[in-house]
Every structure is written in C-alpha cells, then in structure tokens.
Point group: C2
C-alpha cells in the first residue's frame, strides 16, 4: 500500500504507532481527519500538546492530575489511613466507578514482570514503603490483577511492609457476581470453593 502523500503517510505512521491500531485503520482515520476544517485539526493536535505540558502525576499517590496533588488525595472527606495499591490509573477509575471505596490510592505504574524486564525498581514502590513506615496508615489493600505477575508483586510488597503494624488485605477472589457457575473457569471455581465464606444475608 503506497500512499501518494508523504504527509498523509507520516500521519498514518503516527496513528498506527498507538497500540491496537494498524496501518489500514490508521489510514481510514487519517482520511476522516482530512475532511475536517483547519480549526478542528488544530484542536485535535493541541489536545495532545496541552495534555503533555499540563498533566502531572500526583506527588502523593501517582494518579494523573492537573495539580501537584490530585483531587482524591486532596479530599479531606476521604479516609487517608487506608491505601489501595493499584497498577494503573485506569484501575482507579474502575474502583471509583463502584462508589464503594472511600480511602486513597497508590499507583505503582506497572507490575513486576521479569518477562517484560520490569523489576521492583522500575515501579513507584518506595514512596509506598515510606508511607507504611510513617505509621499514619492503618490498612493497605492490594488491588492488583489476579495474575501471576499481580501475585508476584503482591508478595514483594507484602514482604516489604509486613513488619510495620498495618493490616494488609487483598481483593476477594471468586466467581463473578451475576455470571453462571458452569462458565466459571476451573481455577477460579476451585479456589472459591476452597476459600468458601460463612453465608450472610446481604
């Protein structure tokens, strides 16, 4: 596929550098952009420049924010003694959407994954240990993905903070709410049988 314009080709190149967008899709998107007005293209391009020059990571938790301290860390109504450890900013959005958590967060910015060359020093871990040491924290919740990498990271963090007097918890694992039992995978079903809980009327 030889595109007859080096500018279009460059734009396709840039768009297809994004994960999950191939050359063909990128070309379709670029041709759609070509039909927009100069002003619309200016707004499109400036959105990314503005984002890069204005958005920072919260100094306290690592969340994305327009200010040095993010809205969650700045909220005095939240419980600052409970820290929920997440891998990524999108996990914060997912947990916030449940409207069931009132503590604050700590974003690792990744997960320990030797296969991808990501070790503990590549992650935002030491500020978490500092916070744990400071004795203002009562509970740390591990809310990482229930994968081997997530478990590895949980174990590493556990070893680092277990000696401080902090309650360490993790998300409960088991069959999904609202799903049919027959479709649950064997590992999940087996574990949720092993970790069965006292029956409670909700």
């Amino acid at each position: 596929m030889k595109i007859p314009s080096k500018y279009i080709e460059n734009a396709v190149e840039q768009l297809s550098s994004l994960p999950g967008i191939g050359k063909r899709t990128a070309l379709r998107l670029v041709l759609q952009l070509m039909n927009r007005s100069n002003e619309e293209i200016r707004q499109f391009a400036e959105a990314f420049l503005d984002m890069k020059s204005n958005v920072v990571h919260c100094e306290s938790c690592g969340n994305i924010s327009d200010f040095q301290i993010c809205a969650i860390c700045n909220d005095e109504k939240r419980d600052h003694q409970t820290i929920c450890v997440v891998e990524d900013i999108r996990d914060i959005l997912a947990i916030e959407a449940t409207q069931t958590y009132k503590g604050i967060y700590h974003v690792l910015g990744g997960i320990i994954s030797p296969m991808d060359g990501i070790g503990p020093t590549d992650l935002n871990i030491s500020p978490l240990i500092e916070k744990a040491k400071s004795q203002v924290i009562k509970e740390v919740i591990f809310a990482l993905s229930p994968t081997m990498e997530g478990d590895t990271t949980n174990f590493y963090l556990y070893k680092k903070i277990k000696d401080f007097e902090i309650q360490i918890t993790t998300l409960s694992r088991g069959v999904s709410v609202g799903s049919e039992l027959q479709y649950a995978d064997e590992l999940t079903l087996g574990r949720s049988l092993m970790n069965r809980q006292p029956f409670k009327l909700v």
Copy 2:
C-alpha cells in the same frame, strides 16, 4: 468514568471523535501517549497539522497529493485515455496494489446515497463529464462498490456520458477468486451463473 484531568479528558474526547474509537479505547491510547517524551508528542501532533496544511486534492483527478497534480496524473507512462472512476482514495490504493491497471483515475469523493443525503451535486462528477466531452478519453471504467448505491451512481454516470463516443465498462462481478463455491452468497452465485463466460485457459 470520571477522568481526574480535564486535559486528559479533552484528549480522550478528540481521539474518540474518530470513527470506531470509543471512550475506553481512547483513554487507553491517551495514557499510552502520556508515557511518551515531549518531543514524541510534538511529532505526533504536528503530523496532523502538517498534513492538513500541505495535502491537497489533485486538480485533475481528485486523488490526495502533496502537489497540484498527483503522481499518477503526472506519470507520462500511464494511459491517459483510460479513466477508472472510484469512490474514495482508498480504492485507488487497492487497485494500485493489484499492479494490473495502467490508466488514470477519477475520484468521486463519495457515492450517490439519498439515505445519507448525498446527491450527484455533492460529488466530483462534472469534471468527469468535461473530460468525457473533450474526446481525449477512450474508456471509462466504473469501479464503484457492487452495492445498490454503487449501481445507482453507475447508472447516473452512464446516462451523463453515454452520448459521447466512449467505451463504458465496469468491474466484472462473480465469485471471488480462491473462495469456496458453497460459501458464495446466493445473489453473487446466481448472477455469476447468468453472466457465465466462455472458458479460457489462463
């Protein structure tokens, strides 16, 4: 999903304005962009600005081009007496990829589609009629999609140029090369039976 930064939100808004990209995908892409350097973001944004300010439509055929006349129309080795009428620039790329066509193109920039409010006056049709009138053209090939809208457009163009001494052809329709007969749809199979061709050893 409440994004804790209005700049990120704006960038997500812009990316999800592209066809086929939802809010969730856009956020994933934007967070990926956030991890790039300032220089990379500048290149990303400028690709679209450069494209918009430099790319024009070929004055002769309507193809995208960095110059007033596109590389295909400018190529003296090509057959300028044969014009292939296509809907979109991507169709040119598809036909060029076959390496079987040596004529030039004419891009309509769309297809007659009353349902979408697109009539003949919205398309790049009159330059084609001018070319047909000028008597330098020997053949016009209709290479529009084999859909109802494509057929309508073919019929409209046919009526407009049939009185000039030009051979008018269209892409052959029939079963796809390399596909299994049992999977061909009824309409295609029926038509390709009706329009059966003398057997030729290729």
